[in-house]
C-alpha cells in the first residue's frame, strides 16, 4: 500500500465513519438516562474534591470512572446499534380486548442484549428480549384498545440501556402501528329477536331447522366459504376443496339491518349489530349487513365476517337525521 493510497483510504474510512455516525445519531438517538446525569453529577463531585485537595489519586480514580462512563456509551451503541424494527401489524381486535401487535425485529452486528421493545403509551405492556442476534425475530406486543375504529398507537421503539444504564439507545419504528378495532360485541335478546323478525327466513331462529339437512351439491371452494361447510370427504379423496351447498342455506339468509335494532344509542346499536354478526357467523348462516349508506350482501366465511365487522368498526356516527 503506497502512502498516498493509505492516506486516501484512511480519509475515506474516517469520513464514512463520520457520516455513518451522524446518520446513526439522527436515526437512533443515544442519550444519557437520568442515571447517566446522576453519574455525571457524581463524577463532578469527585473531580471537585480532587481539585480542592490537589489529590492526584483522586484525579486518577475520577478519570477512570469517567472512562467507564464513556466506554459504556459505546458499549450501549455497539450492543444495540443496527437493531431495526422492520414492520409491525396486528390482527383486528374487539374494543376492550388487547390488540396483539407482531413486530419484526432485525438484529444488528452487536450482541443485542437486553433490548426492550415497546409501544410508547401507558396502556402498552413492555417486552424485553435478549440477544437479537438472529437476523429476524418477531415480537408480540399487547396494547389495550378502547373504542372501535382504526387505532393508531404511539411510536413503537426499541430501546436498550445495556450495560450500565447510563445511556439509552433508542430506535423508532418508521411510521405507526395500526390496528383495526372491531366494536365490542353486545349480545342482547331484544336485538336477536328484532333482527330475526326482520329477516326473510323467519323460522331460521330455530337451530334445529337451519336447513343444513337439504344437501344440494358441491361447489368449488371460494375463499371465505365457512369451514364447517367444506366437504372434507371430497378433499380426503384428493378431489380438491369443495363447499357443500344446502337447500336451506338460502332460506336462512338474514339481513342484519341498522333500522331493525330497537336501540337509540348508535354506539350500542353498532355493538349489538356486531354481536349479531358474530352469532350468525358462529352458526354458519349466511348474513348480510344493512347500514345507512352502505349495505353488504349476504355471505359467509371469515372474509365476509371481517368485511362486516370492519364496516361496523369504521361506521361514522352522524347526527340522526
Amino acid at each position: 500500500m503506497t502512502p498516498a493510497n493509505a492516506v486516501d483510504k484512511t480519509i475515506r474510512a474516517v469520513s464514512s465513519l463520520l457520516k455513518r455516525g451522524v446518520r446513526g445519531l439522527r436515526r437512533a438517538r443515544l442519550l444519557p438516562t437520568r442515571y447517566g446525569w446522576a453519574y455525571l453529577l457524581m463524577l463532578g463531585a469527585m473531580l471537585a474534591g480532587s481539585i480542592n485537595y490537589g489529590n492526584n489519586f483522586g484525579f486518577l480514580l475520577t478519570f477512570l470512572l469517567t472512562g467507564v462512563g464513556l466506554v459504556s456509551m459505546l458499549h450501549t451503541w455497539r450492543n444495540a446499534g443496527g437493531v431495526v424494527l422492520v414492520s409491525g401489524s396486528a390482527a383486528p381486535a374487539f374494543a376492550g380486548e388487547p390488540a396483539a401487535f407482531e413486530v419484526a425485529v432485525r438484529g444488528g452486528a452487536g450482541a443485542g442484549a437486553a433490548i426492550e421493545i415497546n409501544i410508547e403509551s401507558d396502556t402498552a405492556a413492555k417486552t424485553k428480549i435478549d440477544r437479537v442476534a438472529e437476523p429476524h425475530r418477531r415480537v408480540r406486543l399487547h396494547h389495550a384498545t378502547r373504542r372501535r375504529g382504526r387505532m393508531r398507537t404511539g411510536p413503537c421503539t426499541a430501546t436498550s440501556v445495556y450495560p450500565l444504564g447510563l445511556f439509552r439507545w433508542r430506535h423508532c419504528l418508521a411510521g405507526y402501528l395500526e390496528c383495526l378495532v372491531y366494536p365490542a360485541p353486545l349480545e342482547s335478546d331484544a336485538a336477536l329477536t328484532a333482527a330475526d323478525g326482520d329477516s326473510p327466513g323467519d323460522e331460521a331462529v330455530d337451530e334445529r331447522r337451519t336447513g343444513s339437512d337439504d344437501f344440494q351439491g358441491l361447489n368449488a371452494y371460494r375463499p371465505g366459504d365457512p369451514l364447517p361447510r367444506i366437504s372434507w370427504k371430497a378433499s380426503a379423496r384428493g378431489l380438491g376443496l369443495y363447499t357443500k351447498e344446502f337447500a336451506g342455506s338460502g332460506g336462512n339468509t338474514r339481513l342484519l339491518a341498522w333500522d331493525s335494532i330497537p336501540e337509540a344509542d348508535p354506539e350500542r346499536k353498532i355493538s349489538m349489530l356486531c354481536g349479531l354478526v358474530l352469532a350468525a357467523h358462529r352458526k354458519g348462516n349466511a348474513y348480510g349487513l344493512e347500514l345507512p349508506g352502505q349495505s353488504i350482501p349476504p355471505g359467509g366465511g371469515e372474509a365476509h365476517r371481517h368485511r362486516c365487522l370492519a364496516a361496523l368498526a369504521d361506521f361514522p356516527i352522524t347526527e340522526p337525521s
Binding site: T66, K128, P163, L164
Partner: protein, 669 residues
C-alpha cells in the same frame, strides 16, 4: 421492576460494599466497620429466609443511632473520618430500604463514592491497586442489574472490559487535565510521620534510630552519583550546648553568598512525611527553588511542615569551599556552659598551646580521638555528670552522636567555632530501579568547624574512631553481638530473609514509580511533559485547548473502540460484498440505468437484459456472483476478490439514443 427482583440485587450490593470497605479498615472507627458488617449479615440472612427487610421505623432508628454514635465517637469533629464513617452508616441503611431499581442504582453510586473516598486516607500503591478492584465489582453489580441472565460471570467480564478500556481514557485525561495548584500530594500519609530527628540532639537520639529500617527519603540522581563517602545528607545544625544536649538557635538568615566548588550534583528527593520544616540535602546545597530556602547554616527549609510526601529537586556541591559564609550575626559558635567537663577544657588548652593554626588544632583533636583507643558501640555505659570527660577519659565507648558532641565541645573549648550537624550518611541503591533509599538506620551526626580560609568545614570524628562506618554502614561497623541484636531474625532465616529483602526492594521500586508518576504529577511536571510534546501551557485559553485535545483523543479512542482496529481499516466481508454491489449500481446509474428502490438484484438484471442486451452478459455474471456471496454465503474470499475485480472492470457506457432498442422498435412499427 417489582420489589422482589430489586431485592435480588441487595446481596450483590453487599458484596460490592464489602469489597470497598476493606481499605477503609483502620481509618474509620472499628465499630463502624463492625456495625456495617453486622447490618449486612442480618440483611443477607433476612433476604435468604424471605423475611421483610426492615420496617421504616427500624430504619429511622438505626440511622439516628448510627449518626449519633459517629458524632459522639469522633468527638463531633467534622473531618474526613467522620464524613466517611457517616457515609458508611447511610449506605448500610440505604441497603435496607431498597425497593425499586432506582434504589439499587443509588446504592451502586454510593458504593462508587465510598470506593473512591479511600483517597482521603491513603494514596499508596496498595490502595492504587486495590481500589480499582472495588470499582470493578461495583460496576459488575450495575451491569448485572441490566443483564437478563442474573449470573455473575457475564457482568464481571463486561465490567472488567469496561475498566480496561477506560484505562487509556483515564490516562489521557490525567495527563491533559489542567492542574491548578502545586505540591499536589494526597491527604494520605498525614498523621503517619516517620520518626526521625527533632530539634534537640541528646545522647541516644541518633542511636535510637539505627534499628529502624524505615525509609526516610528516596533520592534520584540526575548527574553522576558522588562517592559513597561523600553522601552526607544534611538535615539541621545544632549550635547551643547546655552541657548535655545540643539545640538549634532560632537565629539564621537566608544564605547570601553561594557556595563555590566542583561540579554541582543534581538530584531529586522524595521525602517521607516527618512533620518538620527541615528537609535533607546533600552537603552543601547550592540552589533551591519554589517554596524552599537555603539558610546560612546550609540547611534547606520548607515554608510548611512536611505532613505529606514531598518531592523537591536541588543542586549541591560535594566538594566545596564556603569561606564566603561567615557566622557573624548568628549565635556564637564558641559558646559553652560556664562549668563542667574540666578535663576536656584543659585538653583543649593543651591543643591550643601546641598548635600554630586553627586547622592544626582541629587535626590534633582528631588525632586524639584516633589514637585514644575509642570503641564504636550503640550502648555505651552511663556517662555521669560530666558526660564529655567521662566519654573521653573513662569509658571510651560511644556512638556517633557522643563523639560528635565531644569533638564539638573540645573545639569550642579550644576557641574554634564548631557546631553539630544531624542527618544521614550513606544510601542504599535499589537494584530494581535507578534510585537510592536512605533509611533511618543511616542516621548520623557529625561536626562542622569554621576555619578562616575554608569557612565551615566538615569533620566527622566517627570516621576517625571507626572508618568502617562509611563504607559498610552503621550496622556493619558495630561489634558483632550488637549487630545481631539489631536483626535477630537474620541469622535464623538466612537466605529467606535476603529474598524477603529483595521483594521489599522490588515493591519499594514500584511504589517509588507510583509516587513520582502518579502522585507527584504537579503543574510543573505537567508543563514539562506537555512541553516535550510541543504544547505550551500558560493562561486559561491554553488550558481550554488542553481539555479540547484531551476530548479529541478520547473521541478517537471511542471511534477505535467502536469499530475496532480490524474494521477501522478493513470492512467485514459482508460489507465488502455490499459495497461492490453499490459500486456496480452506481456505475449503471451513471450509464442511465437507475435501480428502482423496489428492485432486487434479479429484477434489476432482468430489466437491464431487456433494455441493454449488450450489457446482459456482464450484468448477469456480476449479479449472480453477488447473490451467491450475499445470500447463499458461498465462495469465500476468492469469490469476493473475483466479484470486486469484475465490478472494477465493469464500465458500462451510456447508450447513444440512435441505437436505443425502443426507438428502433418504434421506427419499425
Amino acid at each position: 421492576m417489582t420489589q422482589s427482583s430489586a431485592v435480588f440485587h441487595i446481596p450483590a450490593l453487599i458484596v460490592a460494599l464489602a469489597v470497598n470497605l476493606v481499605p477503609h479498615i483502620g481509618w474509620i472507627p472499628w465499630w463502624v466497620v463492625l456495625g456495617c458488617c453486622a447490618g449486612w449479615l442480618v440483611l443477607w440472612h433476612r433476604i435468604r429466609t424471605g423475611r421483610p427487610v426492615a420496617a421504616p421505623r427500624v430504619r429511622r432508628l438505626l440511622t439516628l443511632i448510627g449518626i449519633l454514635a459517629v458524632l459522639v465517637g469522633t468527638g463531633g469533629a467534622l473531618d474526613r473520618y467522620t464524613a466517611v464513617a457517616l457515609l458508611w452508616i447511610l449506605a448500610t441503611v440505604k441497603l435496607m430500604e431498597i425497593e425499586t431499581r432506582r434504589d439499587v442504582v443509588v446504592g451502586v453510586f454510593l458504593a462508587y463514592f465510598l470506593g473512591v473516598s479511600v483517597v482521603f486516607f491513603s494514596s499508596s500503591l496498595t490502595a492504587g491497586l486495590y481500589v480499582p478492584i472495588g470499582l470493578w465489582v461495583t460496576t459488575a453489580v450495575l451491569v448485572r442489574l441490566h443483564d437478563a441472565g442474573g449470573g455473575w460471570r457475564r457482568p464481571l467480564k463486561i465490567s472488567l472490559k469496561l475498566l480496561v478500556q477506560a484505562l487509556p481514557v483515564a490516562a489521557v485525561l490525567f495527563l491533559f487535565f489542567p492542574r491548578v495548584h502545586g505540591g499536589l500530594w494526597g491527604l494520605g500519609g498525614a498523621g503517619q510521620a516517620v520518626s526521625g530527628f527533632s530539634d534537640v540532639l541528646s545522647p541516644g537520639t541518633v542511636s535510637g534510630l539505627v534499628p529502624s529500617r524505615e525509609v526516610a527519603f528516596r533520592v534520584e540522581f540526575h548527574s553522576p552519583v558522588p562517592d559513597i563517602q561523600k553522601l552526607y545528607w544534611r538535615g539541621l545544625t545544632f549550635d547551643i550546648f547546655d552541657g548535655r544536649s545540643w539545640r538549634r538557635s532560632g537565629e539564621r538568615f537566608r544564605m547570601q553568598n553561594p557556595v563555590s566548588g566542583g561540579r554541582p550534583v543534581h538530584y531529586t528527593i522524595a521525602m517521607e512525611p516527618h512533620g518538620e520544616r527541615w528537609l535533607f540535602v546533600l552537603d552543601l546545597p547550592v540552589e533551591a527553588r519554589g517554596r524552599l530556602a537555603v539558610y546560612s547554616d546550609f540547611t534547606l527549609m520548607k515554608w510548611r511542615k512536611t505532613e505529606r510526601k514531598f518531592i523537591y529537586t536541588v543542586q549541591s556541591r560535594v566538594d566545596y569551599r564556603s569561606a564566603g559564609v561567615s557566622w557573624r550575626g548568628e549565635s556564637d559558635p564558641r559558646q559553652l556552659p560556664a562549668h563542667g567537663n574540666p578535663r576536656t577544657r584543659s585538653l583543649a588548652q593543651q591543643l591550643r598551646r601546641k598548635a600554630e593554626s586553627p586547622a592544626e588544632i582541629v587535626d590534633l583533636g582528631l588525632r586524639f580521638l584516633q589514637e585514644g583507643g575509642f570503641r564504636y558501640t550503640l550502648n555505651p555505659p552511663l556517662l555521669g555528670d560530666d558526660p564529655i570527660d567521662s566519654l573521653l577519659f573513662k569509658v571510651r565507648q560511644g556512638y556517633c552522636e557522643h563523639y560528635a558532641s565531644a569533638f564539638a565541645f573540645l573545639m569550642r573549648a579550644a576557641g574554634i567555632p564548631a557546631r553539630l550537624v544531624g542527618g544521614y550518611l550513606g544510601a542504599e541503591p535499589n537494584p530494581y530501579d535507578d534510585y537510592w533509599l536512605v533509611r533511618q538506620l543511616h542516621a548520623h551526626a557529625w561536626v562542622e568547624v569554621w576555619l578562616p580560609h575554608s569557612g565551615w568545614t566538615r569533620r566527622d570524628p566517627t570516621l576517625v574512631v571507626e572508618p568502617n562506618r562509611i563504607l559498610q554502614g552503621a550496622a556493619a561497623a558495630l561489634p558483632p553481638e550488637e549487630r545481631d541484636n539489631l536483626r535477630p531474625w537474620r541469622g535464623r532465616l538466612g537466605t529467606l530473609s535476603d529474598l524477603w529483602g529483595q521483594v521489599q526492594l522490588g515493591w519499594d521500586a514500584a511504589e517509588n514509580r507510583w509516587d513520582r508518576w502518579i502522585l507527584g504529577y504537579s503543574p510543573a511536571r505537567q508543563r514539562s511533559i506537555l512541553g516535550r510534546l510541543g504544547l505550551e501551557i500558560d493562561g486559561a485559553a491554553s488550558k481550554a485547548v488542553l481539555l479540547l485535545i484531551a476530548a479529541g483523543i478520547c473521541g478517537l479512542l471511542a471511534v477505535f473502540y467502536r469499530y475496532g482496529f480490524q474494521r477501522f481499516f478493513r470492512d467485514s466481508p459482508d460489507d465488502e460484498v455490499q459495497r461492490a454491489y453499490w459500486i456496480f449500481c452506481a456505475r449503471l446509474a451513471r450509464a442511465g440505468l437507475l435501480r428502482r428502490p423496489h428492485e432486487g438484484p434479479l429484477d434489476f438484471a432482468l430489466r437491464i437484459t431487456g433494455e441493454r442486451p449488450d450489457l446482459a452478459e456482464e450484468v448477469n455474471t456480476i449479479v449472480w456472483d453477488y447473490i451467491r456471496l450475499r445470500y447463499a454465503n458461498r465462495g469465500g474470499p476468492e469469490a469476493l476478490r473475483l466479484l470486486r475485480r469484475r465490478v472494477r472492470r465493469f464500465r458500462p457506457r451510456r447508450k447513444r439514443r440512435a441505437f436505443s432498442p425502443h426507438r428502433l422498435n418504434h421506427v419499425n412499427t
